[in-house]
Symmetry: C2
Protein backbone atom coordinates (compact mmCIF):
# COMPACT_ATOMS: atom_id res chain seq x y z
CA UNK A 1 0.00 0.00 0.00
CA UNK A 2 3.09 2.26 0.09
CA UNK A 3 2.25 4.10 -3.17
CA UNK A 4 -1.21 4.88 -1.79
CA UNK A 5 0.12 5.95 1.61
CA UNK A 6 2.55 8.37 -0.05
CA UNK A 7 -0.17 10.08 -2.03
CA UNK A 8 -3.08 10.10 0.38
CA UNK A 9 -4.11 9.86 3.99
CA UNK A 10 -4.96 6.21 4.55
CA UNK A 11 -7.16 4.97 7.38
CA UNK A 12 -7.45 1.25 8.11
CA UNK A 13 -10.67 0.23 9.80
CA UNK A 14 -12.54 -2.82 10.98
CA UNK A 15 -16.34 -3.03 10.90
CA UNK A 16 -16.76 -1.13 14.16
CA UNK A 17 -14.42 1.65 13.10
CA UNK A 18 -15.76 1.98 9.55
CA UNK A 19 -18.28 4.81 10.13
CA UNK A 20 -15.60 7.09 11.62
CA UNK A 21 -13.04 6.17 8.99
CA UNK A 22 -15.50 6.61 6.14
CA UNK A 23 -16.44 10.15 7.10
CA UNK A 24 -14.53 12.49 4.82
CA UNK A 25 -13.01 9.69 2.73
CA UNK A 26 -12.87 9.94 -1.08
CA UNK A 27 -12.06 6.28 -1.68
CA UNK A 28 -13.06 3.07 0.09
CA UNK A 29 -11.14 -0.18 -0.50
CA UNK A 30 -13.28 -3.07 0.80
CA UNK A 31 -10.94 -5.89 1.75
CA UNK A 32 -13.23 -8.24 3.71
CA UNK A 33 -15.68 -8.72 0.90
CA UNK A 34 -18.15 -10.83 2.87
CA UNK A 35 -18.59 -8.18 5.56
CA UNK A 36 -21.88 -6.33 5.89
CA UNK A 37 -20.05 -3.37 7.39
CA UNK A 38 -20.36 -1.20 4.29
CA UNK A 39 -24.16 -0.91 4.12
CA UNK A 40 -24.23 -0.45 7.90
CA UNK A 41 -21.72 2.42 7.72
CA UNK A 42 -23.13 3.97 4.56
CA UNK A 43 -24.70 7.06 6.19
CA UNK A 44 -21.14 8.18 7.07
CA UNK A 45 -20.04 8.18 3.42
CA UNK A 46 -20.31 11.92 3.02
CA UNK A 47 -17.90 12.50 0.12
CA UNK A 48 -17.10 9.05 -1.23
CA UNK A 49 -16.32 8.99 -4.95
CA UNK A 50 -15.08 5.49 -5.50
CA UNK A 51 -15.45 2.07 -3.85
CA UNK A 52 -13.12 -0.76 -4.83
CA UNK A 53 -13.78 -4.33 -3.68
CA UNK A 54 -11.19 -7.11 -3.32
CA UNK A 55 -13.36 -9.70 -5.04
CA UNK A 56 -14.81 -10.50 -8.43
CA UNK A 57 -18.43 -10.67 -7.24
CA UNK A 58 -19.81 -7.33 -6.05
CA UNK A 59 -23.04 -8.71 -4.57
CA UNK A 60 -22.04 -7.87 -0.97
CA UNK A 61 -22.05 -4.13 -1.77
CA UNK A 62 -25.02 -4.02 -4.12
CA UNK A 63 -27.29 -2.42 -1.54
CA UNK A 64 -29.64 0.40 -2.59
CA UNK A 65 -27.56 3.15 -0.97
CA UNK A 66 -24.57 2.43 -3.20
CA UNK A 67 -26.57 1.43 -6.25
CA UNK A 68 -28.53 4.68 -6.24
CA UNK A 69 -25.49 6.88 -5.51
CA UNK A 70 -22.93 8.42 -7.86
CA UNK A 71 -20.14 6.40 -6.25
CA UNK A 72 -18.09 4.49 -8.83
CA UNK A 73 -17.75 0.78 -8.05
CA UNK A 74 -14.81 -1.30 -9.26
CA UNK A 75 -13.93 -4.91 -8.61
CA UNK A 76 -10.93 -7.25 -8.79
CA UNK A 77 -11.88 -8.89 -12.04
CA UNK A 78 -9.12 -11.07 -13.47
CA UNK A 79 -7.31 -12.06 -10.29
CA UNK A 80 -9.24 -15.27 -9.83
CA UNK A 81 -9.66 -16.39 -13.45
CA UNK A 82 -6.84 -18.87 -13.86
CA UNK A 83 -6.85 -20.23 -10.29
CA UNK A 84 -10.59 -20.97 -10.46
CA UNK A 85 -10.34 -22.44 -13.96
CA UNK A 86 -7.64 -24.86 -12.79
CA UNK A 87 -9.75 -25.72 -9.76
CA UNK A 88 -12.80 -26.52 -11.88
CA UNK A 89 -10.81 -28.70 -14.27
CA UNK A 90 -9.35 -30.50 -11.27
CA UNK A 91 -12.82 -31.13 -9.82
CA UNK A 92 -14.01 -32.56 -13.12
CA UNK A 93 -11.04 -34.93 -13.31
CA UNK A 94 -11.51 -35.80 -9.61
CA UNK A 95 -15.10 -36.86 -10.37
CA UNK A 96 -14.15 -38.76 -13.53
CA UNK A 97 -11.31 -40.64 -11.85
CA UNK A 98 -13.02 -40.98 -8.44
CA UNK A 99 -10.17 -39.44 -6.49
CA UNK A 100 -12.42 -39.16 -3.43
CA UNK A 101 -13.17 -42.87 -3.58
CA UNK A 102 -9.45 -43.64 -3.87
CA UNK A 103 -8.65 -41.47 -0.84
CA UNK A 104 -11.43 -43.03 1.24
CA UNK A 105 -10.16 -46.50 0.29
CA UNK A 106 -6.58 -45.46 1.06
CA UNK A 107 -7.64 -44.20 4.50
CA UNK A 108 -9.35 -47.57 5.06
CA UNK A 109 -6.28 -49.50 3.86
CA UNK A 110 -8.30 -51.14 1.08
CA UNK A 111 -7.07 -51.98 -2.43
CA UNK A 112 -10.06 -51.92 -4.80
CA UNK A 113 -9.68 -51.44 -8.54
CA UNK A 114 -12.47 -49.51 -10.26
CA UNK A 115 -13.04 -48.38 -13.81
CA UNK A 116 -12.77 -44.66 -14.40
CA UNK A 117 -14.38 -42.24 -16.83
CA UNK A 118 -12.86 -40.24 -19.64
CA UNK A 119 -12.75 -36.45 -19.40
CA UNK A 120 -12.10 -35.88 -23.11
CA UNK A 121 -15.32 -35.79 -25.09
CA UNK A 122 -17.46 -34.88 -22.10
CA UNK A 123 -19.66 -31.76 -22.15
CA UNK A 124 -19.49 -28.82 -19.78
CA UNK A 125 -22.10 -26.08 -19.58
CA UNK A 126 -20.62 -22.96 -18.00
CA UNK A 127 -23.22 -20.69 -16.48
CA UNK A 128 -21.63 -17.25 -16.43
CA UNK A 129 -19.78 -15.66 -19.34
CA UNK A 130 -17.53 -13.22 -17.50
CA UNK A 131 -13.72 -13.51 -17.43
CA UNK A 132 -13.72 -16.44 -14.98
CA UNK A 133 -16.29 -18.39 -17.01
CA UNK A 134 -14.31 -17.71 -20.19
CA UNK A 135 -11.06 -18.89 -18.65
CA UNK A 136 -12.83 -22.04 -17.44
CA UNK A 137 -14.15 -22.57 -20.98
CA UNK A 138 -10.70 -22.26 -22.53
CA UNK A 139 -9.11 -24.58 -20.00
CA UNK A 140 -11.79 -27.27 -20.31
CA UNK A 141 -11.60 -27.05 -24.10
CA UNK A 142 -7.83 -27.52 -23.91
CA UNK A 143 -8.40 -30.64 -21.83
CA UNK A 144 -10.66 -32.11 -24.51
CA UNK A 145 -14.14 -31.26 -23.20
CA UNK A 146 -16.86 -29.69 -25.32
CA UNK A 147 -18.19 -26.49 -23.77
CA UNK A 148 -21.15 -24.16 -24.11
CA UNK A 149 -21.98 -21.04 -22.13
CA UNK A 150 -25.04 -19.57 -20.48
CA UNK A 151 -25.35 -15.78 -20.33
CA UNK A 152 -27.87 -13.01 -20.52
CA UNK A 153 -28.38 -13.27 -24.28
CA UNK A 154 -28.25 -16.29 -26.58
CA UNK A 155 -25.64 -16.12 -29.33
CA UNK A 156 -23.47 -18.29 -31.55
CA UNK A 157 -19.85 -17.96 -32.55
CA UNK A 158 -18.59 -16.83 -29.18
CA UNK A 159 -14.78 -17.10 -29.20
CA UNK A 160 -14.61 -19.03 -25.93
CA UNK A 161 -17.96 -20.80 -25.70
CA UNK A 162 -19.11 -21.24 -29.27
CA UNK A 163 -22.77 -21.41 -28.37
CA UNK A 164 -24.14 -19.26 -25.53
CA UNK A 165 -27.68 -20.01 -24.34
CA UNK A 166 -29.85 -17.38 -22.67
CA UNK A 167 -30.11 -18.01 -18.95
CA UNK A 168 -33.91 -17.81 -19.31
CA UNK A 169 -33.70 -20.97 -21.42
CA UNK A 170 -31.26 -22.88 -19.21
CA UNK A 171 -33.78 -25.53 -18.19
CA UNK A 172 -34.18 -26.52 -21.84
CA UNK A 173 -30.46 -26.96 -22.42
CA UNK A 174 -29.12 -28.24 -19.14
CA UNK A 175 -29.59 -31.91 -20.03
CA UNK A 176 -26.89 -31.53 -22.70
CA UNK A 177 -24.24 -31.29 -20.02
CA UNK A 178 -22.16 -33.87 -18.18
CA UNK A 179 -20.86 -31.05 -15.96
CA UNK A 180 -22.72 -27.85 -15.06
CA UNK A 181 -20.44 -25.12 -13.72
CA UNK A 182 -21.99 -22.16 -11.85
CA UNK A 183 -19.87 -18.98 -12.06
CA UNK A 184 -22.56 -16.37 -12.74
CA UNK A 185 -22.57 -13.10 -10.81
CA UNK A 186 -25.10 -13.06 -7.99
CA UNK A 187 -27.89 -10.65 -8.91
CA UNK A 188 -31.62 -10.53 -8.31
CA UNK A 189 -31.96 -12.40 -11.60
CA UNK A 190 -29.53 -15.21 -10.84
CA UNK A 191 -30.32 -15.75 -7.16
CA UNK A 192 -31.72 -19.25 -6.65
CA UNK A 193 -31.55 -20.07 -10.35
CA UNK A 194 -30.40 -23.61 -9.53
CA UNK A 195 -33.56 -24.96 -7.97
CA UNK A 196 -35.64 -28.11 -7.94
CA UNK A 197 -36.75 -27.64 -11.52
CA UNK A 198 -33.21 -27.08 -12.79
CA UNK A 199 -31.69 -30.05 -10.98
CA UNK A 200 -34.61 -32.20 -12.12
CA UNK A 201 -33.81 -31.29 -15.73
CA UNK A 202 -30.15 -32.39 -15.50
CA UNK A 203 -28.87 -35.70 -16.79
CA UNK A 204 -28.81 -38.23 -13.97
CA UNK A 205 -25.13 -38.91 -14.67
CA UNK A 206 -24.22 -35.22 -14.57
CA UNK A 207 -22.40 -33.31 -11.83
CA UNK A 208 -22.93 -29.78 -10.59
CA UNK A 209 -20.00 -27.54 -9.67
CA UNK A 210 -20.47 -24.21 -7.86
CA UNK A 211 -17.51 -21.83 -7.72
CA UNK A 212 -19.67 -18.70 -7.99
CA UNK A 213 -21.85 -17.81 -5.05
CA UNK A 214 -23.81 -20.04 -2.70
CA UNK A 215 -27.00 -18.05 -3.22
CA UNK A 216 -27.15 -19.07 -6.88
CA UNK A 217 -28.42 -22.39 -5.50
CA UNK A 218 -31.45 -23.37 -3.47
CA UNK A 219 -29.40 -25.63 -1.24
CA UNK A 220 -32.35 -27.64 0.03
CA UNK A 221 -33.36 -28.43 -3.54
CA UNK A 222 -29.84 -29.55 -4.35
CA UNK A 223 -29.80 -31.86 -1.34
CA UNK A 224 -33.17 -33.33 -2.32
CA UNK A 225 -32.12 -33.79 -5.94
CA UNK A 226 -28.88 -35.53 -4.95
CA UNK A 227 -30.80 -37.82 -2.61
CA UNK A 228 -33.29 -38.60 -5.37
CA UNK A 229 -30.48 -39.40 -7.81
CA UNK A 230 -31.53 -36.63 -10.19
CA UNK A 231 -27.85 -35.80 -10.64
CA UNK A 232 -24.74 -37.83 -9.87
CA UNK A 233 -22.72 -35.46 -7.73
CA UNK A 234 -21.87 -31.94 -6.69
CA UNK A 235 -18.69 -30.04 -5.87
CA UNK A 236 -19.33 -26.91 -3.86
CA UNK A 237 -16.79 -24.23 -2.97
CA UNK A 238 -19.40 -21.62 -1.97
CA UNK A 239 -22.51 -21.84 0.20
CA UNK A 240 -25.60 -19.86 1.11
CA UNK A 241 -24.14 -19.57 4.61
CA UNK A 242 -20.36 -19.51 5.11
CA UNK A 243 -18.81 -21.22 6.96
CA UNK A 244 -21.14 -24.08 6.07
CA UNK A 245 -23.08 -24.88 9.26
CA UNK A 246 -22.13 -28.11 11.01
CA UNK A 247 -25.68 -29.46 10.73
CA UNK A 248 -25.75 -29.23 6.92
CA UNK A 249 -26.43 -32.65 5.37
CA UNK A 250 -23.93 -31.75 2.63
CA UNK A 251 -20.98 -32.59 4.89
CA UNK A 252 -21.68 -36.31 4.83
CA UNK A 253 -23.41 -36.91 1.53
CA UNK A 254 -21.99 -39.34 -1.00
CA UNK A 255 -20.70 -37.79 -4.19
CA UNK A 256 -20.48 -34.34 -2.66
CA UNK A 257 -17.11 -32.60 -2.55
CA UNK A 258 -16.87 -29.54 -0.30
CA UNK A 259 -14.21 -26.87 -0.02
CA UNK A 260 -14.24 -23.66 2.04
CA UNK A 261 -14.52 -20.83 -0.55
CA UNK A 262 -10.91 -21.16 -1.64
CA UNK A 263 -10.98 -22.04 -5.34
CA UNK A 264 -9.48 -18.69 -6.38
CA UNK A 265 -7.15 -18.16 -3.48
CA UNK A 266 -3.67 -19.09 -4.65
CA UNK A 267 -0.53 -18.28 -2.71
CA UNK A 268 0.08 -14.57 -3.22
CA UNK A 269 -3.58 -13.72 -3.91
CA UNK A 270 -3.67 -11.07 -1.21
CA UNK A 271 -0.68 -9.27 -2.70
CA UNK A 272 -2.28 -9.48 -6.12
CA UNK A 273 -5.52 -7.98 -4.85
CA UNK A 274 -3.61 -5.06 -3.33
CA UNK A 275 -1.72 -4.56 -6.61
CA UNK A 276 -4.99 -4.34 -8.50
CA UNK A 277 -6.24 -1.65 -6.12
CA UNK A 278 -2.97 0.27 -6.20
CA UNK A 279 -2.93 0.23 -10.00
CA UNK A 280 -6.44 1.57 -10.11
CA UNK A 281 -5.66 4.14 -7.41
CA UNK A 282 -2.86 5.54 -9.55
CA UNK A 283 -5.31 5.93 -12.42
CA UNK A 284 -7.74 7.65 -10.09
CA UNK A 285 -5.02 10.08 -8.94
CA UNK A 286 -4.12 10.85 -12.52
CA UNK A 287 -7.74 11.42 -13.43
CA UNK A 288 -7.73 8.47 -15.84
CA UNK A 289 -10.56 6.10 -16.47
CA UNK A 290 -10.63 3.34 -13.86
CA UNK A 291 -10.31 -0.36 -14.70
CA UNK A 292 -13.08 -2.82 -13.89
CA UNK A 293 -15.93 -0.34 -13.46
CA UNK A 294 -19.04 -2.26 -12.46
CA UNK A 295 -22.35 -1.53 -14.18
CA UNK A 296 -24.45 -1.17 -11.05
CA UNK A 297 -27.66 -2.03 -12.92
CA UNK A 298 -26.19 -5.30 -14.19
CA UNK A 299 -24.19 -6.10 -11.09
CA UNK A 300 -20.92 -6.86 -12.91
CA UNK A 301 -18.38 -5.37 -15.30
CA UNK A 302 -19.91 -5.51 -18.78
CA UNK A 303 -18.04 -6.98 -21.76
CA UNK A 304 -16.04 -4.36 -23.62
CA UNK A 305 -15.04 -2.52 -20.46
CA UNK A 306 -11.40 -3.29 -21.14
CA UNK A 307 -9.33 -6.36 -20.34
CA UNK A 308 -9.31 -7.81 -16.84
CA UNK A 309 -6.17 -8.01 -14.74
CA UNK A 310 -3.66 -10.32 -16.37
CA UNK A 311 -1.14 -12.07 -14.26
CA UNK A 312 2.46 -12.04 -15.36
CA UNK A 313 3.04 -15.74 -15.77
CA UNK A 314 6.55 -16.88 -15.09
CA UNK B 1 -13.72 -62.03 -30.34
CA UNK B 2 -16.25 -63.19 -32.97
CA UNK B 3 -14.05 -62.27 -35.97
CA UNK B 4 -11.23 -64.33 -34.49
CA UNK B 5 -13.48 -67.26 -33.62
CA UNK B 6 -14.78 -67.36 -37.18
CA UNK B 7 -11.31 -67.54 -38.65
CA UNK B 8 -9.44 -69.71 -36.19
CA UNK B 9 -9.78 -72.29 -33.47
CA UNK B 10 -9.74 -70.30 -30.24
CA UNK B 11 -8.86 -71.79 -26.88
CA UNK B 12 -9.41 -69.79 -23.68
CA UNK B 13 -7.17 -70.81 -20.80
CA UNK B 14 -6.32 -69.81 -17.26
CA UNK B 15 -2.83 -70.18 -15.86
CA UNK B 16 -3.28 -73.87 -15.05
CA UNK B 17 -4.65 -74.67 -18.49
CA UNK B 18 -2.15 -72.60 -20.44
CA UNK B 19 0.40 -75.34 -21.23
CA UNK B 20 -2.23 -77.54 -22.86
CA UNK B 21 -3.83 -74.62 -24.69
CA UNK B 22 -0.49 -73.30 -25.91
CA UNK B 23 0.55 -76.57 -27.52
CA UNK B 24 -0.08 -76.27 -31.24
CA UNK B 25 -1.15 -72.62 -31.04
CA UNK B 26 0.07 -70.07 -33.60
CA UNK B 27 -1.01 -67.02 -31.64
CA UNK B 28 -1.19 -66.20 -27.93
CA UNK B 29 -3.24 -63.27 -26.64
CA UNK B 30 -2.17 -62.52 -23.05
CA UNK B 31 -5.08 -60.91 -21.27
CA UNK B 32 -3.98 -61.02 -17.62
CA UNK B 33 -0.83 -59.07 -18.19
CA UNK B 34 0.48 -59.40 -14.63
CA UNK B 35 0.35 -63.18 -14.71
CA UNK B 36 3.55 -65.19 -14.66
CA UNK B 37 1.78 -68.01 -16.48
CA UNK B 38 3.47 -67.37 -19.81
CA UNK B 39 7.09 -68.01 -18.80
CA UNK B 40 5.91 -71.03 -16.80
CA UNK B 41 4.08 -72.52 -19.82
CA UNK B 42 6.69 -71.53 -22.37
CA UNK B 43 8.05 -75.05 -23.02
CA UNK B 44 4.63 -75.90 -24.50
CA UNK B 45 4.89 -73.13 -27.12
CA UNK B 46 5.83 -75.50 -29.93
CA UNK B 47 4.68 -73.45 -32.95
CA UNK B 48 3.91 -70.01 -31.60
CA UNK B 49 4.47 -67.20 -34.11
CA UNK B 50 2.98 -64.22 -32.37
CA UNK B 51 2.24 -63.11 -28.81
CA UNK B 52 0.00 -60.10 -28.20
CA UNK B 53 -0.35 -58.56 -24.74
CA UNK B 54 -3.30 -56.51 -23.43
CA UNK B 55 -1.10 -53.83 -21.90
CA UNK B 56 1.32 -51.10 -22.91
CA UNK B 57 4.22 -52.38 -20.82
CA UNK B 58 5.60 -55.71 -21.99
CA UNK B 59 7.86 -56.31 -19.00
CA UNK B 60 5.81 -59.31 -17.74
CA UNK B 61 6.67 -61.31 -20.87
CA UNK B 62 10.25 -60.15 -21.37
CA UNK B 63 11.69 -63.44 -20.16
CA UNK B 64 14.65 -64.97 -21.95
CA UNK B 65 12.61 -67.71 -23.64
CA UNK B 66 10.50 -65.20 -25.52
CA UNK B 67 13.25 -62.65 -26.02
CA UNK B 68 15.55 -65.17 -27.64
CA UNK B 69 12.81 -66.74 -29.78
CA UNK B 70 11.51 -65.73 -33.22
CA UNK B 71 8.07 -65.08 -31.75
CA UNK B 72 6.77 -61.62 -32.68
CA UNK B 73 5.62 -59.59 -29.68
CA UNK B 74 3.00 -56.84 -29.96
CA UNK B 75 1.41 -54.68 -27.29
CA UNK B 76 -1.68 -52.49 -26.78
CA UNK B 77 0.08 -49.19 -27.30
CA UNK B 78 -2.33 -46.24 -27.55
CA UNK B 79 -5.26 -47.55 -25.53
CA UNK B 80 -4.11 -45.96 -22.29
CA UNK B 81 -2.65 -42.69 -23.58
CA UNK B 82 -5.49 -40.25 -23.02
CA UNK B 83 -6.91 -41.85 -19.87
CA UNK B 84 -3.51 -41.81 -18.16
CA UNK B 85 -2.75 -38.26 -19.33
CA UNK B 86 -6.02 -37.03 -17.83
CA UNK B 87 -5.24 -38.91 -14.65
CA UNK B 88 -1.80 -37.33 -14.32
CA UNK B 89 -3.15 -33.83 -14.90
CA UNK B 90 -5.82 -34.50 -12.30
CA UNK B 91 -3.21 -35.64 -9.78
CA UNK B 92 -1.17 -32.48 -10.36
CA UNK B 93 -4.22 -30.28 -9.80
CA UNK B 94 -5.19 -32.38 -6.77
CA UNK B 95 -1.77 -31.67 -5.24
CA UNK B 96 -1.85 -27.97 -6.15
CA UNK B 97 -5.34 -27.45 -4.75
CA UNK B 98 -4.99 -29.91 -1.84
CA UNK B 99 -8.06 -31.91 -2.72
CA UNK B 100 -7.00 -34.62 -0.28
CA UNK B 101 -6.82 -32.08 2.54
CA UNK B 102 -10.28 -30.79 1.63
CA UNK B 103 -11.72 -34.31 1.68
CA UNK B 104 -10.11 -35.14 5.02
CA UNK B 105 -11.48 -31.88 6.47
CA UNK B 106 -14.91 -32.61 4.97
CA UNK B 107 -14.93 -36.09 6.52
CA UNK B 108 -14.05 -34.43 9.86
CA UNK B 109 -16.77 -31.80 9.43
CA UNK B 110 -14.20 -29.00 9.59
CA UNK B 111 -14.26 -25.72 7.63
CA UNK B 112 -10.66 -24.54 7.15
CA UNK B 113 -9.65 -22.15 4.41
CA UNK B 114 -6.17 -22.66 2.93
CA UNK B 115 -4.25 -21.01 0.15
CA UNK B 116 -3.73 -23.11 -2.96
CA UNK B 117 -1.03 -23.28 -5.61
CA UNK B 118 -1.18 -22.40 -9.29
CA UNK B 119 -0.76 -25.15 -11.85
CA UNK B 120 0.00 -22.82 -14.76
CA UNK B 121 3.66 -21.94 -14.92
CA UNK B 122 4.77 -25.04 -13.00
CA UNK B 123 7.30 -27.47 -14.50
CA UNK B 124 6.77 -31.15 -15.21
CA UNK B 125 9.53 -33.57 -16.15
CA UNK B 126 8.10 -36.60 -17.90
CA UNK B 127 10.32 -39.63 -17.69
CA UNK B 128 9.37 -41.80 -20.65
CA UNK B 129 8.90 -40.54 -24.21
CA UNK B 130 6.55 -43.18 -25.59
CA UNK B 131 2.96 -42.44 -26.66
CA UNK B 132 1.65 -42.19 -23.09
CA UNK B 133 4.41 -39.79 -22.04
CA UNK B 134 3.81 -37.69 -25.16
CA UNK B 135 0.09 -37.48 -24.49
CA UNK B 136 0.82 -36.45 -20.91
CA UNK B 137 3.20 -33.76 -22.23
CA UNK B 138 0.59 -32.35 -24.59
CA UNK B 139 -2.13 -32.32 -21.93
CA UNK B 140 0.05 -30.66 -19.29
CA UNK B 141 1.22 -28.08 -21.82
CA UNK B 142 -2.42 -27.31 -22.68
CA UNK B 143 -3.08 -26.75 -18.97
CA UNK B 144 -0.29 -24.19 -18.80
CA UNK B 145 2.62 -26.22 -17.41
CA UNK B 146 6.11 -26.22 -18.88
CA UNK B 147 7.31 -29.70 -19.77
CA UNK B 148 10.50 -31.52 -20.60
CA UNK B 149 11.08 -35.18 -21.34
CA UNK B 150 13.56 -37.83 -20.33
CA UNK B 151 14.37 -40.58 -22.82
CA UNK B 152 17.19 -42.74 -24.05
CA UNK B 153 18.92 -39.97 -25.99
CA UNK B 154 19.12 -36.23 -25.30
CA UNK B 155 17.68 -33.99 -27.99
CA UNK B 156 16.10 -30.59 -28.55
CA UNK B 157 13.13 -29.54 -30.63
CA UNK B 158 10.99 -32.54 -29.81
CA UNK B 159 7.42 -31.75 -30.95
CA UNK B 160 5.85 -32.74 -27.63
CA UNK B 161 8.61 -32.18 -25.07
CA UNK B 162 10.84 -29.52 -26.55
CA UNK B 163 13.90 -30.62 -24.61
CA UNK B 164 14.50 -34.30 -23.93
CA UNK B 165 17.27 -35.19 -21.47
CA UNK B 166 19.10 -38.51 -21.56
CA UNK B 167 17.95 -40.75 -18.75
CA UNK B 168 21.64 -41.23 -17.82
CA UNK B 169 21.69 -37.51 -16.93
CA UNK B 170 18.37 -37.43 -15.06
CA UNK B 171 19.95 -36.71 -11.67
CA UNK B 172 21.45 -33.49 -13.08
CA UNK B 173 18.11 -32.20 -14.38
CA UNK B 174 15.54 -33.48 -11.93
CA UNK B 175 15.75 -30.38 -9.69
CA UNK B 176 14.24 -28.33 -12.53
CA UNK B 177 10.86 -30.01 -11.96
CA UNK B 178 7.91 -29.23 -9.72
CA UNK B 179 6.39 -32.55 -10.81
CA UNK B 180 8.28 -35.66 -11.91
CA UNK B 181 6.12 -38.15 -13.81
CA UNK B 182 7.36 -41.72 -14.25
CA UNK B 183 5.95 -43.44 -17.35
CA UNK B 184 9.08 -45.16 -18.69
CA UNK B 185 8.92 -48.78 -19.85
CA UNK B 186 10.30 -51.19 -17.29
CA UNK B 187 13.55 -52.59 -18.60
CA UNK B 188 16.84 -53.67 -17.06
CA UNK B 189 18.00 -50.10 -17.62
CA UNK B 190 15.04 -48.35 -15.97
CA UNK B 191 14.44 -50.73 -13.07
CA UNK B 192 15.00 -48.92 -9.78
CA UNK B 193 16.03 -45.67 -11.54
CA UNK B 194 14.14 -43.66 -8.90
CA UNK B 195 16.32 -44.34 -5.90
CA UNK B 196 17.77 -42.52 -2.92
CA UNK B 197 20.10 -40.45 -5.07
CA UNK B 198 17.34 -39.39 -7.47
CA UNK B 199 14.85 -38.42 -4.76
CA UNK B 200 17.61 -36.57 -2.93
CA UNK B 201 18.27 -34.50 -6.05
CA UNK B 202 14.63 -33.37 -6.39
CA UNK B 203 13.38 -29.97 -5.25
CA UNK B 204 11.97 -30.23 -1.76
CA UNK B 205 8.69 -28.72 -2.95
CA UNK B 206 8.38 -31.19 -5.84
CA UNK B 207 6.04 -34.17 -6.13
CA UNK B 208 6.65 -37.56 -7.72
CA UNK B 209 3.95 -39.31 -9.76
CA UNK B 210 4.28 -42.93 -10.87
CA UNK B 211 1.83 -44.22 -13.48
CA UNK B 212 4.40 -46.50 -15.14
CA UNK B 213 5.56 -49.54 -13.22
CA UNK B 214 6.20 -49.96 -9.53
CA UNK B 215 9.63 -51.46 -10.16
CA UNK B 216 10.90 -48.17 -11.62
CA UNK B 217 11.08 -47.08 -7.98
CA UNK B 218 13.06 -48.30 -5.00
CA UNK B 219 10.04 -48.02 -2.73
CA UNK B 220 12.05 -48.02 0.48
CA UNK B 221 14.10 -45.08 -0.79
CA UNK B 222 10.93 -43.19 -1.69
CA UNK B 223 9.51 -43.76 1.78
CA UNK B 224 12.76 -42.57 3.38
CA UNK B 225 12.95 -39.51 1.14
CA UNK B 226 9.34 -38.53 1.88
CA UNK B 227 9.97 -38.93 5.60
CA UNK B 228 13.10 -36.80 5.33
CA UNK B 229 11.20 -34.09 3.44
CA UNK B 230 13.42 -34.45 0.37
CA UNK B 231 10.30 -34.15 -1.76
CA UNK B 232 6.84 -32.83 -0.91
CA UNK B 233 4.60 -35.67 -1.99
CA UNK B 234 3.99 -38.70 -4.16
CA UNK B 235 1.04 -40.09 -6.10
CA UNK B 236 1.42 -43.76 -6.89
CA UNK B 237 -0.82 -45.85 -9.12
CA UNK B 238 1.64 -48.74 -9.46
CA UNK B 239 3.74 -50.60 -6.93
CA UNK B 240 6.58 -53.07 -6.70
CA UNK B 241 4.08 -55.57 -5.25
CA UNK B 242 0.41 -55.37 -6.28
CA UNK B 243 -1.94 -55.28 -4.48
CA UNK B 244 0.12 -53.04 -2.20
CA UNK B 245 0.71 -55.07 1.00
CA UNK B 246 -1.28 -53.94 4.02
CA UNK B 247 1.90 -53.37 6.04
CA UNK B 248 3.33 -50.82 3.58
CA UNK B 249 3.96 -47.48 5.29
CA UNK B 250 2.72 -45.75 2.12
CA UNK B 251 -0.92 -46.36 3.08
CA UNK B 252 -0.82 -43.87 5.93
CA UNK B 253 1.85 -41.37 4.93
CA UNK B 254 1.02 -37.70 4.64
CA UNK B 255 1.16 -36.28 1.13
CA UNK B 256 0.96 -39.70 -0.46
CA UNK B 257 -1.95 -40.47 -2.80
CA UNK B 258 -2.48 -44.12 -3.69
CA UNK B 259 -4.64 -45.76 -6.32
CA UNK B 260 -4.83 -49.42 -7.32
CA UNK B 261 -3.26 -49.57 -10.83
CA UNK B 262 -6.28 -48.03 -12.50
CA UNK B 263 -5.08 -44.80 -14.13
CA UNK B 264 -5.59 -46.11 -17.67
CA UNK B 265 -8.67 -48.20 -17.07
CA UNK B 266 -11.63 -46.18 -18.31
CA UNK B 267 -15.08 -47.66 -18.79
CA UNK B 268 -14.92 -49.73 -21.98
CA UNK B 269 -11.17 -50.38 -21.75
CA UNK B 270 -11.58 -54.15 -21.94
CA UNK B 271 -13.57 -53.88 -25.17
CA UNK B 272 -10.94 -51.53 -26.55
CA UNK B 273 -8.15 -53.95 -25.72
CA UNK B 274 -10.00 -56.75 -27.51
CA UNK B 275 -10.52 -54.47 -30.54
CA UNK B 276 -6.81 -53.77 -30.72
CA UNK B 277 -6.06 -57.50 -30.74
CA UNK B 278 -8.78 -58.29 -33.29
CA UNK B 279 -7.51 -55.54 -35.60
CA UNK B 280 -4.00 -56.92 -35.41
CA UNK B 281 -5.28 -60.48 -35.86
CA UNK B 282 -6.93 -59.50 -39.13
CA UNK B 283 -3.60 -58.09 -40.31
CA UNK B 284 -1.90 -61.32 -39.29
CA UNK B 285 -4.45 -63.38 -41.23
CA UNK B 286 -3.94 -61.21 -44.28
CA UNK B 287 -0.18 -61.53 -44.00
CA UNK B 288 0.19 -57.79 -43.38
CA UNK B 289 2.68 -56.13 -41.09
CA UNK B 290 1.43 -56.12 -37.51
CA UNK B 291 0.86 -52.92 -35.51
CA UNK B 292 2.78 -52.22 -32.31
CA UNK B 293 5.63 -54.67 -32.82
CA UNK B 294 7.89 -54.55 -29.77
CA UNK B 295 11.66 -54.33 -30.21
CA UNK B 296 12.59 -57.12 -27.83
CA UNK B 297 16.06 -55.68 -27.28
CA UNK B 298 14.64 -52.31 -26.21
CA UNK B 299 11.59 -53.65 -24.42
CA UNK B 300 9.11 -51.35 -26.15
CA UNK B 301 7.81 -50.28 -29.56
CA UNK B 302 10.40 -47.93 -31.05
CA UNK B 303 9.48 -44.53 -32.49
CA UNK B 304 8.66 -44.70 -36.17
CA UNK B 305 6.92 -48.06 -35.89
CA UNK B 306 3.65 -46.49 -36.99
CA UNK B 307 1.00 -44.64 -35.05
CA UNK B 308 -0.46 -46.13 -31.87
CA UNK B 309 -4.12 -47.03 -31.53
CA UNK B 310 -6.24 -43.90 -31.74
CA UNK B 311 -9.57 -43.82 -30.07
CA UNK B 312 -12.54 -42.48 -31.97
CA UNK B 313 -13.51 -39.59 -29.72
CA UNK B 314 -17.21 -38.92 -29.60
Amino acid sequence: MAPVEEAATVRYADAAGLPDALRGADVLFVWDFLSTAVPDAWPAADRLQWLHIASAGVDPVMFPGLRDSDVTLTNSRGVFDNPIAEYVLGLIIAFAKDFAGSLDLQRAGTWRHRETERVGGKRALIVGTGPIGRTIARMLTAAGLSVAGVGRRARDGDPDFGTVHASDDLAEHIDWADYVVAIAPLTEKTKGMFDRRMFGAMKRAARFINVGRGELVVTEDLVDALRAGELAGAALDVFETEPLPGESPLWTMDNVLLSPHMSGDVVGWKDTLVEVFVGNFQKWLAGERLDNVVDKELGYVPMGAGPPYQEDRK
